[in-house]
Symmetry: C3
Subunit: 655 residues, 3 copies
């Protein structure tokens, strides 16, 4: 459990660096990320490098025993480079080209830009790769931010055609796979294919899905280009990237296979809650705290992406600047978010940023210090955490690997692309749907591991998949040979690998373990809400419902009031035929949790529990003091058995 | 009363064709539409035709006594053609060019594309024109769909200039007609004129209206190009086009004069109800049935366009894919819609589509069969209708020409363009307004013929015109020499042929039969609702109101509570000075209906009546069983005197 | 107090001109604006001028003793000019070029267009500059209308680079001032700088602010080009421009220094109320009258811009055409608006337009006459005002210079640009916020002078500044050496001249008179409304709140219920830390007004008072008769002590 901070020495007078480093160390900060937007200072003219200032900055930090994470500066190429290669600029879906003047003004497919990225990364890693203070490298910054993915450039088109040729080999195979006969969309060669945009009506969904896959691969290969150079010149250091919350434009599991030691992510709970498609009442209720499951969802997701290694690279430490409205977090939230991150297995919580920058785009984004260098309210909270960590001594330094949870939630990036390509109902959002399931399980007091739908889930008592339109073979294999319980949501198994309806109708491959035939599906306008009762609880379907005929051996656990089956089960496999409202979803999952032999601990509003290593944490987002479910006589290393509003407790709970 | 289906042999293995055809025939289907998206299979390379597969498909259908309707494939030109003529792509109002990848990716004004259309249609009609199974030809598919009209290409500009030169002869005449002096918009020659888009503020409305007329003519001449070839090579077959519901981007009456035997249209009541500007309460109430007047409105409109000959070329047969939300229709709706179409005079009800296609853009659009070839719920209902038709024997085969209704509703495409060009109030929509009047009349139990505002309406007891901004001379002539009653809505007679205010103020030409002067007009924000009472019923004006001074001989039938006249009448001519809310509109029309000597039959929610040939039909969209107004002892050929929810009855009612 | 009218002789048969002029004079109109859209008639071919018709038009007006205001026609260049210089067309922020077909189709930075403007203005001023009937010149028409500012052309970019080079001298200075190091946005030369648009995320706010300043200067120099020619060829005549209401895309105070004698503006209270970001309840309540403070705000603003000289160049005289909905004003409003304008110091109230034009874009915009030449209801009201003015005799002719009000409201165009560049909260609108303060003061019965934040405010008892992010030094100087009371709203003093956070934190320079430190700021979603009580009145913060630590000598006058200070004061300086809801704002300002020793006269709904010269006016926008606060025995020159709904009174109130 380490603290870190994002620091931009180039933004401040060099005279301030020494005191900055000293104060960081005093606060309990031990890691500092630098340099990821400094290209124009590192290479002020084409080919002329200026390392002197960065050498001094790294050395200053090192003198105070601070470990350094260097970011490659490829998210902000300088103007001279853009002027030399104007076709490196990204192009939006509507065909308009972006220009220089902010950041991320590059097309990830540009061959020229890739060359320059390799050049600058090679230069940086050669310079600092073996510096003893340097412990990790971050590639670029927040891939895809600001809607720069997908990019619709000529370079993207050219590489997409190559990608397709490699995937399908013959144009006939592609035409067949996409069903291009449908509207005379058949191509005679790969060079006839365009990017799937600016069509009078929807492009072929198979075309779109392959383009999304291609773009995802492009992000991976762009990262790999840098990761390989880092490995070569900076042996033994961690390679990471700082991902974003609720962002799925590329497959993070696949990305990780391109060279990643740690999945780092940037956590901004308050603006995230404002911009997610949550109900208005939730946005209001949690406006100053973030929704209690929003950060946890990403912690659990990225811990899976990093195969257990997860950092928070940027932690919100006060009000920010980028949501439609930007309220001040409630007192105590910065501390709460920090402990919550540790509870979910974060090795490092690094705050954004050391000091609020008074100029340029993010001047309204707070930091640990105000622009006048006094600690901000958030900075004061971090100091408190620093003290608490010191007081915890050994516990803070113990390996805090998360235990395998009892429940696994299967997450799938392709599922997001499939749903987005073919929502069928205007308000069907995959990530939000997965979040609803996650949140319901968390309200039941359960730890949840979010894992790839292609992972091995042996050892989990219960595996839930909100939806998996393209169902991997491995899932069915695991159901057949395993002993765990499974719950699937609607649309599961409905699509082939090329986004066609599966051959013998949905739920496709799932039929072998859950005989059923999805006869018809429907999306539901917000006012259409079919009702049912489950274990005495009244609930409604929202957004989506399927009419399913159960097959041999499949039981109907619940029916809608109009008679249509709502929950099906055969042995250890349960299928929900609709999206359920919150109350019904909690009831349905509680039933499955219980049937899987897991003890749930239904929690009051705002309280959440989480086991990590030998500790169990309780975090209280709510307004009332709560008693935590610690065993009598439990030893508390943080707080005590009563946890107040916006407070945290942790106690030892050996197996 | 025939059943049909849309079928795409090219989407399926040839081994399936025979069984498909056999099953169609068994279900009672007798007509099959094919080929309208098959260009890439008919001409896979420039100039190389492949007829073999289509020959076999037609012959397979013919073997099962199925009659064939061939669609020309010009709505989906193949990629090789687009690459040869990239300037054939359409351009949106914002100036952005569309590209290949879906359908309708062509500009209707492109000379090159017109040539290729003529070539492919000539080839097809030569090949199949005299095939005995071929009974009709459909040109293209849903002209204007996906907002491809108007198209703002260079070709459109060039032809528009020519069209204007032909219309105005001299530029001085055009400048005067458009009032171009207004903002120094005067042109020195036709070649200075641009398309009316991308102007800092509104372009001249006269300019816009002429552009809309030009585009409408372009659609007509594009169709005629094909119709002439069909006539030449396929004598005796019906020429038709499949129009859309609530679509007015071209003048369908004028179009029909370019060579049309049957007005076919594509009926999707559920998504149509979702996307029309109906009140939210109506959208919810009728979400699974479609609004009870939505299909009927188009039936009655297109029966008029086809001079009595109307087909439903594509009938929704289950849930579709293209509305924001796509619920499953209530059980029985596919059958109900079918009988309703026959009741309104459809010669054919053809379902879209034979089998749900599991790939490409419309995979979430149901058909009569599921992708696994089992009948869908809609398919089951069609089978039932097939049986009912067989049971009706002679009645099903009798000529079912609609009787002239007692009421004519005047419809005018130019009225739509005028209102859209100059809404004045943000929520004034011509088609929706016409629909409100139609719906009110239908709620009164009346049959309504929707006819062109330029038609002869002799023989109708009552003629209603929701609005006719550009009032044809023929209307005034008919009022003066006829004996029928007339009701006009606001804005009637307000505009000249070039979209200027009429010379002596509105209601313009109507003054000769209804002396009055429209002093001022206003559009009303939704919260502004002037009130009045009419025959004891309280109501409100919405969206639009006029302050009118009645002239000599004109009576004020009703006044708003603030004293402003609401209904004026002189002899047989009534004028409403505002848009009325539903309650008031029904009351006002009921009054006029009664005064015209017509017996109304006010109907309960969801019930509708319709006379066709010697039969009278009752269709019940509602949730309660209703008694139909059949004479005692009437002979029912379908159902009986009590018609249940989502059910139909028909009895013989000789004159 | 004069009446005027906008007249377009080129739109009407010459035979009508004489009667038009005679009727104008009879109605009491004495000034006529002409020619501002007549370029195509003045110069029908390149270089060929046709003066004859305009000579006759001016002479016709002069024969009836009407004074003429000539508008330069540069807002509507003819097509032939656009075809010669296609790069004179404006470009929108999204990069799309506009085209000919309406008006304002020019880029204010185009060198070629500026040349042609100079040419046509020189020709016109040479022709009419010394005509005895010509008393004033209006340049162009409504600069910036239809979102034509800013314009993103190549010409703008070129001139912007020059403007920046002149402002910063070296690129290093610019990089430092903008903080370009932030995201490697550093430039190596001025020719590397782009316009601040089409960036993946927000461009640097300093970049945007300088671009807004540049564009504002461009408007000024464009106007100056014409003003200088007018001065040269038409000595002694007033130079003016007709500004718009609630429009701040250029700095009108700075503009006035480019050569302006009178600030004229175009007053459309009803549509303005519809389009302003007012609460829905207000839009409904005042839908037919305009909000009672909407016109007054602009009167008081433009009176300040014109250094006391203000005209209403275009006064709404009936329903218009350009809002989403366009209701008919209530009877009496045209008269009320006229007297209200005089009460606020208008020298002239000129109606738009003489006669409703039946053709082209504004055919649905009413005038004093209907298209059939009968007086419209608004025209009747103007006739009545003409009679009232005649009856008032000397009072109508007396110099009606407004007295200095007791309260000055500081207005600042840069404040608008700063807030718009960096709203931080989605609904923070500077002009609306300033309007809320103005309206609250007016409800307290006070006259308000709106003055530039850079003006000398000596003599005002109370000076209020809703917000001044960039606080001029002169304000602090005046506080220190003056005796008046000051009230500042949140965000004041928060930004440097280059839109960075001020060096020692907000409120920046204000600290010298109000020691305090703004620790954190927040924008508030509409549902987040921190509460407080002030003098027993409950209220809420909306949109924005600051957490402020008061410094030595600064008192906390009010705190939010959560303890955070809401109002701070040190001696004569008060600071509100949040945006207050209406009730709270009125209470807070009432407190400050009282403490400043000013007598407030809280007014009932819809009633407003205004002193001008020796007269005091009461205007009643409301529905109930009200007693005006005239001294006993006051002599009324208009109405009497009871003023009815939609009526006006005026009495003599000597000092």
């Amino acid at each position: 459990m380490r603290l870190g901070v994002c620091y931009y020495p180039e933004h401040w007078p060099e005279s301030q660096w020494e005191s900055d480093a000293r104060r960081m160390a005093q606060m309990g900060i031990s890691r500092v990320r630098i340099a990821e937007f400094a290209w124009s200072r590192i290479e002020p003219e084409p080919g002329r490098y200026d390392w002197a200032w960065l050498d001094r900055a790294v050395d200053t930090l090192a003198r105070h025993a601070l470990e350094v994470v260097i970011g490659t500066p490829t998210a902000s190429p300088p103007k001279w480079l853009v002027d030399t290669h104007p076709d490196m600029l990204p192009v939006l879906k509507d065909g308009s080209a972006m220009q220089f003047g902010s950041r991320r003004h590059y097309d990830i497919s540009s061959p020229a830009y890739r060359e320059h990225c390799a050049r600058i990364v090679e230069a940086m890693t050669r310079r600092y790769g073996e510096h003893p203070a340097v412990v990790a490298w971050q590639t670029d910054n927040e891939f895809g931010c600001h809607n720069t993915l997908p990019s619709y450039t000529d370079a993207a088109l050219s590489r997409f055609r190559g990608w397709l040729a490699a995937r399908y080999e013959t144009i006939e195979a592609l035409n067949a796979a996409w069903g291009n006969v449908f509207w005379s969309m058949e191509y005679r060669g790969f060079d006839e294919i365009e990017l799937p945009h600016r069509t009078p009506t929807d492009p072929n969904p198979s075309h779109v899905l392959d383009f999304r896959r291609f773009q995802s691969d492009e992000v991976g290969s762009f990262h790999r280009l840098q990761a390989d150079l880092i490995r070569k010149h900076s042996p033994g250091r961690d390679v990471l990237h700082n991902f974003m919350g609720f962002y799925a434009a590329f497959d993070h599991y696949a990305f990780a296979r391109h060279g990643l030691d740690v999945a780092a992510w940037d956590s901004y709970p308050v603006p995230r809650t404002e911009v997610l498609p949550l109900p208005e009442a939730d946005k209001h209720r949690w406006a100053r705290t973030g929704h209690p499951d929003v950060s946890a969802f990403s912690h659990d997701l990225y811990r899976g992406v990093g195969k257990g290694r997860m950092w928070v690279m940027e932690q919100q430490a006060g009000p920010v600047n980028w949501a439609p409205w930007n309220p001040i977090p409630r007192d105590g939230m910065v501390r709460l978010w920090t402990w919550e991150a540790f509870a979910h297995g974060a090795e490092l919580v690094s705050y954004f940023r050391w000091r609020q920058c008074p100029f340029a785009q993010e001047q309204m984004h707070s930091g640990l210090n105000a622009p006048d260098d006094r600690l901000s309210p958030g900075g004061e909270e971090v100091s408190r955490v620093g003290g608490e960590l010191r007081a915890m001594q050994a516990w803070a330094k113990a390996p805090m690997r998360s235990k395998r949870a009892s429940v696994a939630l299967l997450f799938d990036y392709e599922a997001d692309w499939v749903i987005e390509t073919q929502r069928h109902g205007a308000d069907f959002d995959y990530q939000h749907f997965a979040f609803e399931w996650y949140s319901a399980l968390r309200e039941l007091g359960l730890d949840v591991d979010i894992v790839s739908a292609r992972d091995d889930v042996d050892g989990y008592r219960l595996v839930v998949a909100p939806t998996l339109p393209i169902l991997p073979d491995s899932v069915v294999d695991q159901i057949e040979r395993g002993a765990n319980h499974w719950v699937f949501g609607p649309r599961t198994g409905s699509k082939s690998d090329t986004l066609a309806i599966v051959e013998h109708l949905p739920p496709g491959k799932l039929k072998s373990v859950l005989p059923a035939r999805v006869v018809e599906v429907e999306s539901l306008r917000p006012s259409l809400r079919p009702t049912l009762r489950l274990d005495g609880i009244e609930g409604e379907a929202v957004r989506w419902r399927e009419h399913v005929q159960p097959g041999a051996g499949t039981d109907v656990l619940a029916r809608f009031d109009d008679g249509s089956p709502a929950m099906l089960r055969r042995e250890r496999v349960t299928y929900m035929t609709a999206c359920f409202d919150r109350v019904l979803l909690v009831a349905a999952l509680a039933k499955c949790v219980g049937d899987a032999g897991i003890d749930a601990t239904p929690l009051p509003e705002g309280l959440r529990l989480r086991r990590c290593g030998a500790l169990r944490f309780a975090v209280n987002y709510g307004d009332r003091e709560r008693k935590v479910p610690a065993p009598d006589g439990a030893r508390f290393v943080l707080g005590g058995p009563l946890v107040g509003p916006i407070d945290v407790a942790a106690w030892i709970e050996e197996d």
